[in-house]
Each structure stands twice: as structure tokens, then as C-alpha cells.
Symmetry: C2
Subunit: 606 residues, 2 copies
């Protein structure tokens, strides 16, 4: 077994069909090539899944993977990955979460958990300091995430609990997993858990994780704190407003999704702003251990009928999609909605998009009160939005259609609605209008998991008035930077220097990892993700955007009239494939590129 | 300081006005005379409150008092008392709760907590192993009980937390206090906490409590288990169905409150029965530590729109009052309502009565849709019932009137409604129609805190076809028995033998307490409670029942036509006062009786 710092050196494999668990060593080669988190995830996913598996069938697998920097002493380094084939997109999915789950998993002696098969009856997994047990969960099936966590803790004592809510049980295709109160939100990993009848994973342990060079790590940790505190966004705006700081700026930039991305300026933006949230609604800042960016805050609704609702959030994306995109300017309603999404285990980004889509259908008369069981599903109707969240989670009435995600819902409702079904590859879009931000346009189109808010150009590389060439180059770099973060376990933040990240990884693991090594690893990961997607049928024609963005200019505000030029968009794609070494016709990685990255053998599998 | 087993020997006095806490020794004489819980509570209340204090003013006090048998080794002995002047009745209030609060309080080095004054800003009390601290709670003000408990635990670690919800903050006169998930439900102690801006008390400790004769206690504990397990109700029905076992029997006896006590048979009783609850809704039995009666169960609603609601309960009284008395036969709705009552901190018995009263007003056209803001507040409308619980907790619209309790609400709505405002001395009645159960009729009329479900004849003493004479005698005994339970800390159960109780108390404390001593203590307590109430203006004319029970016969079922005969009722009262040594004209304790009980001095105070 290898002896790198930061690793327990093994993963737990859980076969729910047989009701068995076993320890498996992590291979040294694998770790050197893919490190952890997202990287390790696509490695396993590609290796272990044959092509065209139904994401909700027993053959799909769930990979919970820690990252080498997930250590209690490093700030903003608690991200871990859930990787699976997404029931929302049918392609590669990584879904990142924070909190203490990764710490506990390592303290229990594991770098990850691989879940396969389907249990006949509901179960939960209890991992206690090197031991693992599959326990009955019939009594928990049907409960919210919060209640589940509480009752599991009653049974096992203090533990970190990852659980699904009723949305996951009911196979809502964008059901999330809640790790205590932090979500692995996107792409429906909760539905995969639900399909396996795995209600929760509870973890506890007290094993120490070896660190290769603790002295150097201490110095670096100080450096990381220094970098964070000196940064205007991550050392000031973020601790002050959480991610909600972005509402005002995005709205001013004319990029805030409004009424199902019909426009980029929301006249009710002040009602959902970070400033208002801070002044009137925030009752507590509740950071992950040791984090000074402290994005997480606790908010409390004040006004009838939402008064008394408490949530952790809402994050920027939630405010954008359940707020402006649904035409809703009531912070109280969004707090209540965010709480419901957490309790039922729903991704707020997809839920917001899906409801905004249904609202547009309703306003256009494509669906009527008959379809909504009497609900006035208009933009701005906050009570209808909240009621729909409940109906989606329990697949009631129209909720059963919307639970399928906007791509399938649009097909079920009417073909003509496809042009305003806002998704890429089935994944609903996050809170930035791509017509207003050309980098986002390309990022959404090429991101491995579909319409993704994590594929972006680092703040430090962004420029005003950049050329498409610069955007694409920045994006290729940004994509790799983000894979690195999601593989080593760092939050998005001011650590944009690969030198610092490589130094962190080296001092923890003792691997002697250079910035170039990290980029190579990231490129390998991006290519393997693409190879996986190609194997599932993805090609260049899927690397596109909803029709609305090519044909309907933004209706108002500073970006009024902006629309994506299809020719420029295609040129950018050409350039992106070129930079990546991918075939321009098919968008598939070339043999040469795969060989260069040491992926030539696995690319042939499936 | 005295050295009795089972006591820490001191209480914590908390002056919220000054923001100070101090330890005070318990006096040996006081302990010998009043023991703990209810007994100690009325001692303090009588001594420390002058007459005619507004229950929601700073001058009122809250007494949290443990009992000598509150020990981890004794089953069913976790009851502790909250004593105060009730904002619902304006007289003496004890409100009992279970759970681990008493254990933790003793382990923290205290037998009780006395709270006085009003804090300028919201606070919570943190008691940690002998230390006490008043902490800011502005961030918790506005939260549910469950959220409050969770966020306090985030701050202080694992602790038992007693907290109020929004109903307590909003001074709803029947707001309860939740000790973790167990309520001190009746009479509005949560409103008193709210009036003092005390959001919660968190307690933790690891001090051991001395036991005088642990060997004897061990033997007795075995005996207690044996008695419980051999008992048909407490060893079988209760562990099987919880307190909900009583729904079927009470309905068959024609005593189940139905549609605001209009009749005693509910045709929907099967929908709220213990059997149905067990078969379809119970997911977990969740007893207090070491208890084999295990009345507490966790239930999960299954049907839309209540699906996914989880609660601890519902108890019999909740099923009776929020169920039958509101004409509601949907277990799912009652589970959801019970959860809401716990979250907002509302007493389910009073809430059920108040809503049933409003439903009768609505059906009689005394209030209209205009008064209810459009709500069809009819018997059987479960969604309206649930909406009213929310409006009451936040004092919205008609909820603001109903938040005052049925006595004041009736006065506010229309004088004529007084005859069906179901309360005694302002306390709404529990789940037994007194027309069908003559023992209850007298019990409700004479109970120290008003319409009370804890004043009763022990099961073992009940007879079929008893004379009024026998009922009154049984009730005097039962009243003392129950005071003994609520003073030593035992749950209502099969331990009806004063010999066993005296033996338990003696082996724990080393006091050498005889059954006669216990009865004397109980009589002293009952008399002091009465003296307190007399000082607050209570007299014989208050020892009565709602007019309905004297003039409107039960409408249907096996008790059809039954009504309380006013002459017989008055005779019974005469006899009761006679047995008690109270004045028949005024209902006040005589000087002679007070002297006999060693209460002659304090009875003059006020």
C-alpha cells in the first residue's frame, strides 16, 4: 500500500444488492493520476460503468470521494465529490459538497465510498471508525433530510450524516444529497441514492490522517489565510454577504436570470439582494470549520406567511433561480423555499429553472389551471412557487412532470416549449445569462456535466472587452483550474495560483506535485469525462445552448438587445476543441490527445 | 446544608432584569415539607409572588423543579415540573414534562431554576456543570423550538435544551415549553418564558447524584419493572399503542369530545385510533431512557398533502382535541398538526379546544368568512385547522383572538358563546366528556390549575356504577396520589401503591418517608395551591363546568341524553369541600385545616 499523506489508503465498497461491504485499497498509480474527488470519480466511473446504463438502474454506481486536502487544519478545503451517471443528464456528474463529511470519512479510515446495486428494502450505511454496517431504514423512509439526520443520530450518536429527502426517494431527477446542512446539489445524486434505497450514510471516526510535511503545511496555511483575507471578494464581500453578494452586481451587469431567462435585469432585485439579506434576515454566520470566507449564513424569514422559516442560505444561485427567474422578489419566500428544498432534498438551481419554465408555459397559455390543479402559476406568485416545490418533491399532479427536469418536462408539455427550456445537456442553467456573459455561454456549452456553474474563468483572469479567442483560452485554463480545486478539495476562492495549490498538495501528500503535474491531471480528467460522455452519445451537437439565447435578445436593461451570435459561438467551439486536441466535427478527444494523457487504453472501453 | 440523597441541594436563581444568576441553597425544612416538583413549586410560588400579579409581567416567576426520583436508574421517573402563575387561567399552574432535562439539571448540580424579571433583549440560559451564563439569543428569536435547539447545540455542544417557539414569543396564552421533544404543555408556561424574553435553557453536566440506599433502590427498581410489565394498560396497551390506545375505549364509552363537546361519539374515531396509528403511521418507539411503558412514538404522515410530516406523538389528548373535537378523522392531518404545535410551541389540548370552539362559532354563523379571512372554518376541515394553528402562533387575523384562549376569545366574539366555551377557570378541557364520566366532571371543577387531565382517580380505584360519594372520595385520594407523582417525579402508571412510592423516596433520599407522610405532603400541597388560588380571587363559584354540560345532553351514542345534574354536582362539591376541610360557601381552606398542615402562617400572606 502506498504511504502518501492525506490519504487513508482505502475505500469502502458497498454492494447493496448483496448487503455486503468490503474494504478496497486505493492503487498508487490511480492516486498519482487522479488524486481524489472529481478526478478519482471519473476514473472509477469510466472503469466501472459500461455504456448506456440507466442512471436509476442497479448498474449505476455512486462514488463518494474525499480529496487530499480535506484536513481540519486547512481553511476552505472541505469540498468532496459525489460522482455518478446523472439521471438528469444521462452523462458524467460530479456534485460537490462541503461540511464535515470528508473529515469524518478520513477519520473513519476511508478515502471514499463506492455504492452499487439496489437494496431490497430501505437501508442506511453506518461507518464507525473502520467498521461498516448496512442498517435498516424502513422507519426513516419518507422523512425529510433533517428528520432523518436527527433520528440516525439518536441511533448512532454524534455523526456526520449524508441523507436524501423525499425528493430523492421519489426519484426527482434533480434531487440532492444533504451532508448535514450542506448539499451536493446538482444533477440528481439524491435520486440515484433513492433508486438504490439508500436513505443515508452516517460516518464517525477518530483516526488521525498522516501529513507528509506538517511544518511546510503550517506555513502554507498561514499563507492561504493571508491570501483570503487580502482578497476583496473572498476576504470581504463573501464574509459580509455570503454568495448573495453577487445579486446586485449580476443584476447591474444585466445578467441576472429573470422570468425564465427572458431578460437579464430584475426590477425586484433589491428584494433578494445580499445587502437586504444581511440587514434584515441574517441571524448567524455559520462557516465550515476554520473557514474565514464563511459563505454560509443562517437566515430567518420575518413576514407572514413565511415568518419563522429558517434556512442555511439562500446562496446566490438560489436567489437568482427561485427569485428573479421566477419573478419573485420576496426574500421571506425564498428563505422558506430554500428550507423546503433542503428538507425535501431538491436542487434549488434546477427547481427554480423548472418552475420558471412552467410559469412561462402558464403565462403563454400552454398549460392552464386545469394542468396546475387550480394553481395560478404566474411569475411572481411566491405561494405557487412554494406549492410547486412540494408537488415536485412528492410528484403530485404537474409536479410529476416537472420532477423529470426541464428537458423532459418540455417534451411532455409541448415540443414548441423546447426553445425556452433552459438547460444544456439536460442540466438546468445557473444564475448568469449567457447572452450577457460570453464566457458563460461557452462554459455552459462545454462543461462536462452540462449547464454548470462551476466551469468558469478564474476572477483573476477575467478581462473587460476580451476577444473570443481570449475567452476560450481563459476558459480552458479555468476548466482545468476548477477540476484541480474539485480534485484536491479546495473551495472556489482566491487561491488561483497553481504554485500554492501544488505546494499544498505536496506538503500534505509528499508526492512532489508540480503545477504542471496538476494541470496534466486536470487535463486527463477533463478528457476522461469527455470520453465518458462521448461513450454515452454526446457529440458536438450537444455542446450548445437553449435556442432562446441565439434568437431572442435580452429584453431590457444594460444588456438589452444582446443575443449570442451563432457564427461566433461556433468559431469559439472550434477554437476550444482545437486547444483541447478534440475532433472539430464530433467533439471527441483524439487518439493522440488520449495517448498523450496516458488514456489511450481506457478510451476504447465501454 | 442537608445531605439527602437525590438532591443537589441548591437551585439557580436567574434575575433576567439584572442579567445575574446566583446559587441558592434549598432549605431542609422546605424539602421535608414539599419534596420537589409540584410541591416545591407551589411553595415557592406562594412565597415569592404577591397577589394579583399579571402573569405576563416581570413580577411573575417561572420555577423549573426537578423531583427526588429523577434518576437515570428508575424507570418512568423523569417527570419534572414547571410552576408559574398561568397567563391562561390567572391562577396556579404546574405543567409537567419528561425527557432528560431533570437528569441533566441534577448532573449540572441543581435541583431547579427560578427565573424572574424580564430581559431587555432575548437571551438563553446556559448551565454547564455548576456554571451558569445568560447568553444573547437575538439570533434565535423567531425560530421554532426545533431550530432553536439545534442552533444552541451548535454553540454549546450536546445538551438538553428547553425552548419556546414562536407561540411563546408571541405570548399565546397556551404556549408550551419543549424540553428537547417533550412538552410542558398546559397553561402557557411558554408565554411566560416569552414575556421574559427567555428563549431557552440549555443544560449539561456530569455530576453524580448521591443515593442514600442504592441496594434497596436496586431491588425496588426491579419491583417497579415487574409491576409495569404485569399491568394490562401500562405493560401492554401503552407500549403497543402509546397513549393513543385510549381513543377506541373512550369513544366506545361515549366520552370522546366531538365537534366541540357537542357529543361523545365520533363516527371518524377509527381514523384517529391507536390501532391505525400503530399499523400505518408509527415508525419508531422512542421511550424516555429506561422506560418500558414507552408511551412516546414517532409517526410519519403518508398522504398528500401531509405526507412527510414526522412527529413525536400524537398523544391521546391531541388525537381527541385536534381530531374528534374538531371533527377531523385524518391521522395524517393530526400528525402534521402535532408537529406544527411542537415546532411553534403550542399546547395541543388548548389549541384543539380553541379551534373547535371557533368552528362551532363559524357553523352557527356567529363568525363568518370575513372574520376568518376566507377560511372555511368548519368541523372536519383539516386544512383550515392547520392554517389556524399557524395563525394562532403568529397572532394573524382571527388567530390573534384565539391566541387568548377560549375564555377570552368567547368574550371577544360574543357573550352568547360562553355556554360552549369549553374550559374551567380558563383552562380548556382535556379529552373526556364530563357528562359521560362523573369523576371527570368533579375533577375538572376542583383541579388546582383548572380543566386538567392530570387530576383523576387511579385506575385501580375506579368502579362501575359508583355513587357520587365514592367518586368524590376516590377523587380526593386520586388528587393526592397525583400530586405525589408530580412531586416525586413518577409518570402516571401502575405504581398506585403509596407503599412502593414511599419506599422509593426513602431509599433514594434517606428521609424515612412513610405513605402517611406522602399523603400529608400532598394534602399540604393541594391546600397551598387552593390558598394561592383563593388569594387570586378563586371561590366556589369558579369550581364549575361550562354551561353546555349542565344543559345540553350528549347528542348520540351510548351516553346519549346524559347531562350533568346541577343538584348532584353541587352535592358532590359540598362533599368534596367537607372531605378537604374547606369552607362550603367560599371553597376556601379553613384556618383549622391550614393549621393542621402547618400552613397557618403563609395562608395570611399576599
Amino acid at each position: 500500500m502506498f504511504r502518501y499523506g492525506g490519504y487513508a489508503g482505502k475505500v469502502l465498497r458497498v454492494d447493496l444488492g448483496r448487503g455486503e461491504t468490503r474494504d478496497e485499497p486505493l492503487e498508487e498509480d490511480t492516486v498519482r493520476s487522479f488524486l481524489g474527488g472529481e478526478g478519482l470519480g471519473i476514473h472509477f466511473l469510466f472503469q466501472e460503468l459500461r455504456a448506456n446504463v440507466n442512471p436509476l438502474a442497479p448498474e449505476n454506481k455512486l462514488f463518494f470521494l474525499t480529496c487530499p486536502l480535506n484536513l481540519p487544519s486547512i481553511p476552505s478545503a472541505l469540498k468532496h465529490a459525489v460522482v455518478t451517471k446523472s439521471p438528469l443528464t444521462g452523462i458524467f456528474l460530479k456534485s460537490m459538497a462541503s461540511g464535515t463529511f470528508a473529515l469524518k470519512l478520513k477519520a473513519a479510515g476511508y478515502d471514499g465510498v463506492i455504492v452499487e446495486g439496489v437494496s431490497e428494502k430501505p437501508v442506511y450505511l453506518w461507518m464507525n471508525n473502520g467498521k461498516a454496517e448496512i442498517r435498516k431504514a424502513g422507519h426513516l423512509w419518507g422523512m425529510t433530510t433533517h428528520d432523518t439526520q436527527r433520528y440516525i443520530r439518536e441511533e448512532v450518536g454524534d455523526a456526520t450524516v449524508a441523507s436524501i429527502g423525499q425528493a430523492g426517494e421519489n426519484l426527482v431527477r434533480y434531487a440532492c444529497i444533504l451532508f448535514d446542512r450542506r448539499a451536493a446539489g446538482r444533477g440528481g445524486p439524491g435520486a440515484v441514492m433513492g433508486s438504490k434505497r439508500l436513505k443515508a450514510i452516517a460516518v464517525k471516526g477518530d483516526q488521525e490522517v498522516h501529513i507528509a510535511n506538517p511544518e511546510r503545511l503550517k506555513e502554507l496555511t498561514k499563507e492561504v489565510y493571508r491570501i483570503i483575507s487580502a482578497h476583496p471578494t473572498f476576504g470581504d464581500s463573501m464574509p459580509r454577504y455570503g454568495t448573495a453578494y453577487a445579486v446586485g452586481a449580476t443584476n447591474e451587469a444585466g445578467a441576472l436570470p429573470t422570468r425564465n431567462f427572458q431578460t437579464g435585469v430584475f426590477d425586484g432585485a433589491e428584494g433578494i439582494s445580499g445587502e437586504l439579506m444581511r440587514e434584515k434576515y441574517t441571524v448567524k454566520i455559520s462557516p465550515c470549520p476554520r473557514c474565514t470566507m464563511a459563505c454560509n449564513r443562517v437566515t430567518l424569514a420575518k413576514e407572514w406567511p413565511y415568518v419563522g422559516s429558517v434556512t442555511e442560505g439562500p446562496e446566490y444561485e438560489t436567489l437568482a433561480l427561485l427569485g428573479g427567474d421566477c419573478g419573485i422578489d420576496r426574500m421571506d419566500a425564498i428563505i422558506a423555499a430554500d428550507r423546503l428544498c433542503d428538507e425535501y432534498g431538491l436542487d434549488t438551481i434546477s427547481a427554480g429553472n423548472v418552475i420558471a419554465f412552467a410559469m412561462e408555459c402558464y403565462e403563454r397559455g400552454i398549460i392552464t389551471k386545469e394542468d396546475t390543479d387550480g394553481l395560478e402559476l404566474r411569475f411572481g406568485n411566491d405561494q405557487a412557487m412554494i406549492e410547486m416545490l412540494r408537488r415536485i418533491s412528492f410528484r403530485q399532479g404537474l409536479g410529476n412532470v416537472l420532477a423529470e427536469g426541464v428537458r423532459l418536462a418540455s417534451k411532455a408539455i409541448a415540443e414548441e416549449t423546447g426553445r425556452f427550456a433552459i438547460h444544456v445537456k439536460g442540466m438546468e442553467l445557473p444564475g448568469y445569462d449567457p447572452r450577457a456573459m460570453p464566457d458563460k455561454a461557452i462554459a455552459y456549452a462545454i462543461a462536462s456535466r452540462g449547464g454548470c456553474h462551476l466551469t468558469e474563468i478564474p476572477l483573476g483572469l477575467r478581462k473587460k472587452g476580451w476577444s473570443m479567442e481570449e475567452v476560450v483560452e481563459g476558459l480552458k485554463l479555468g476548466q482545468e483550474w476548477r477540476v484541480i480545486l474539485d480534485t484536491v478539495g479546495l473551495c472556489r476562492g482566491p487561491i488561483e495560483s497553481l504554485d500554492v495549490i501544488a505546494d499544498l498538495v505536496s506538503s500534505v501528500t509528499g508526492m512532489g506535485m508540480s503545477p504542471q503535474d496538476l494541470r496534466m491531471m486536470a487535463e486527463r480528467t477533463v478528457n476522461l469525462e469527455r470520453a465518458f460522455n462521448v461513450r454515452e452519445g454526446i457529440s458536438r451537437r450537444d455542446d450548445t445552448l437553449p435556442e432562446r439565447f441565439f434568437t431572442e435578445p435580452i429584453q431590457s436593461g444594460p444588456t438589452r438587445g444582446q443575443v449570442i451570435n451563432r457564427g461566433e459561438f461556433n468559431q469559439a467551439l472550434d477554437r476550444y476543441y482545437e486547444l483541447r486536441g478534440w475532433d472539430k466535427e464530433t467533439g471527441a478527444p483524439t487518439e493522440a490527445k488520449l495517448r498523450e494523457l496516458g488514456l489511450s487504453i481506457i478510451s476504447m472501453r465501454g
